[in-house]
């Protein structure tokens, strides 16, 4: 599978390593080259500097033939916008986005964006741990 990941933070870099290890072809984008230090030394995919909201950058990342797009930058709105570009402009079949704000996650889920809110999930896990 061809996967494009936007945002090489801890989560993005780790996901890139995992997918690469599973034999997928991974391209990871970040606006800062320094972020690529987080990629595991074994990473065989592409690391591309650029803003994932820019369609030229997305084209260079190979989004036109990609099977999946994942948005894991720190900004909810950046993730939302990039996901919608991937889904509605480039017709990527599988688009997953991280949205911290639970309300925005809810709204965009109803609009067809597969969104995960770490805030909701982590709060639930913590509650279970505290109450057990």
């Amino acid at each position: 599978m061809k996967v494009v990941i936007m945002g090489c933070g801890r989560v993005g870099a780790r996901l890139a390593g995992l997918l690469d290890g599973d034999g997928h072809s991974v391209t990871i984008l970040d606006t800062d080259t320094y972020s690529f230090r987080r990629l595991p030394p074994t990473f065989k995919g592409n690391a591309l500097v650029g803003n994932g909201l820019d369609q030229e950058v997305l084209k260079r990342s190979g989004i036109e033939g990609a099977d999946a797009f994942v948005a894991t930058t720190q900004g909810d709105n950046r993730n939302i916008m990039a996901s919608q570009i991937a889904k509605n402009i480039f017709n990527v079949p599988k688009v997953v986005s991280r949205i911290y704000d639970p309300l925005r996650q809810e709204l965009y889920s109803t609009m067809g964006i597969e969104a995960i809110s770490p805030t909701t999930i982590f709060a639930q896990i913590l509650r279970e741990r505290v109450e057990s």
């Binding site: 909201l53 820019d54 369609q55 030229e56 900004g75 909810d76 709105n77 950046r78 939302i80 916008m81 919608q84 570009i85 509605n88 402009i89 704000d101 309300l103 925005r104 709204l107 109803t110 609009m111």
Partner: protein, 220 residues
């Protein structure tokens, strides 16, 4: 009308001032407390501190009864989300977004934003209009009907010079509406009008035919 503005920067501030003076009910939502205070000191209590992309903030301001929401922060993605939340959660009839990246005009329209204002492009077109080397300037985009109004300058080496309008290979769907030349009054061209060096031609065309029109008129 009830108008909500997202972003209290220069654009948001002057926009609010203008809309208030026209008698509209206006609220600005701005993240920065300091900026809010300055606006409220100057314009009265119109600025609310908060994140205009958050549904909770928008709900507090009664967004569902707003006629228009205008997002003018400096970030395209924030403007997109504010408009989408207003539109899809609060059914605001008209959403207007400021954009910085000219490419985003098409993206935003596809994602449901009613109107985009592209400050970069506005400035760019103005500059192009002042430079004699740019043969084609966009005057007005009539996006909703798929047409645009452009101005084409006829340069001395253009092969259209000396030809009649009916002899030009004009693309279908394009129409020359007005010819402006220093030496005479602006006039509406007919099929027999001759194109001259120095003419400024106002034409209606489509974005797809724009390049063919430009070549037909100012190609060498």
């Amino acid at each position: 009308m009830y108008i909500i503005i997202i972003g209290g920067g220069r654009v948001g501030y002057y926009l609010t001032k203008a809309l208030l003076s026209e008698g509209h009910e206006v609220v600005i939502i701005e993240k920065d407390a300091g900026v809010c205070k300055i606006i409220n000191d100057e314009l009265g209590g119109v600025c609310i501190r908060g994140d205009g992309c958050e549904a909770a903030t928008l709900a507090e301001q009664g967004t569902s009864r707003a006629d228009i929401l205008i997002a003018v922060t400096g970030d395209d993605e924030d403007n997109l989300v504010a408009c989408q939340v207003a539109k899809y959660r609060f059914n605001v009839a008209r959403t207007i977004a400021r954009i910085r990246n000219p490419q985003n005009e098409i993206v935003f329209r596809k994602l449901g934003i009613d109107i985009t204002v592209d400050s970069t492009n506005v400035i760019l077109e103005h500059i192009k209009g002042e430079l004699p080397t740019y043969p084609l300037t966009h005057l007005k985009d009539l996006g909703e009907v798929g047409l645009e109004i452009v101005e084409v300058r006829i340069l001395p080496d253009s092969k259209a010079v000396g030809k009649k309008v009916k002899e030009l290979p004009l693309p279908p769907g394009s129409r020359l509406s007005l010819i402006i030349h220093q030496s005479q009054k602006p006039h509406i061209p007919s099929a027999d009008t001759t194109i001259r060096d120095g003419d400024r031609i106002i034409a209606i065309t489509t974005p797809e035919q724009e390049e063919t029109l430009r070549t037909a008129l100012s190609g060498t």
